[in-house]
Amino acid sequence: AQTVTQSQPEMSVQEAETVTLSCTYDTSENNYYLFWYKQPPSRQMILVIRQEAYKQQNATENRFSVNFQKAAKSFSLKISDSQLGDTAMYFCACVDDKIIFGKGTRLHILP
């Protein structure tokens, strides 16, 4: 069965530090997509970054990058130079023929 596991329910880091959010997944498909979504407090869920499983190169979007380890089925999100506006719930998702979300990691950026 398709599963997505985020092992860190909550994290706190100081502003300007680098933080890594963990995500592992399981799927029997060869063709799938992986996503990180961000949900700021009382605000809309938005896409942070996406990765196609067939691409070896790790996706990068400005301060956000992923470490995609296909064999280990791991898809961690690294946030560099963290900012107060990065405070949010972060959800990892795996899409093959279904979309499965992890339970989320609540990230606090401290001033």
Partner: protein
């Protein structure tokens, strides 16, 4: 700027009332979804649709129903609201195809927060 709109944003109603949560998107997306989410908690898929006249139940059992008469519109209805229905309801949409830049990327609405007294 959101291209998917949910109304109402907030609703407080009494037990037994019938309510409809509206969701509309202007992106021409074929796939649409309804998620239930308690604040700060995980998402639960309750309904989805692949296109017009297509509706499917999600992973979480729900007493709500949906319809998809038009591509852009995917309303969710509760015939008789109960306090256990108190939650946030998120609508989302995505392209149907594979291999496109937007494939499988969900665009979310701002949510409808329902409180049933």
């Amino acid at each position: 700027e959101a291209d998917i709109y949910q109304t109402p944003r907030y609703l407080v109603i009494g037990t037994g009332k019938k309510i409809t949560l509206e969701c509309s998107q202007t992106m021409g997306h074929d796939k649409m979804y309804w998620y239930q989410q308690d604040p700060g908690m995980e998402l639960h898929l309750i309904h989805y649709s692949y296109g017009v006249n297509s509706t499917e139940k999600g992973d979480l059992s729900s007493e709500s129903t949906v319809s998809r008469i038009r591509t852009e519109h995917f309303p969710l209805t509760l015939e008789s609201a109960r306090p256990s229905h108190t939650s946030q309801y998120l609508c989302a949409s995505s392209e149907l195809g594979q291999g496109t830049s937007g494939a499988n990327v969900l665009t979310f609405g701002a949510g409808s927060r329902l409180t049933v007294l």
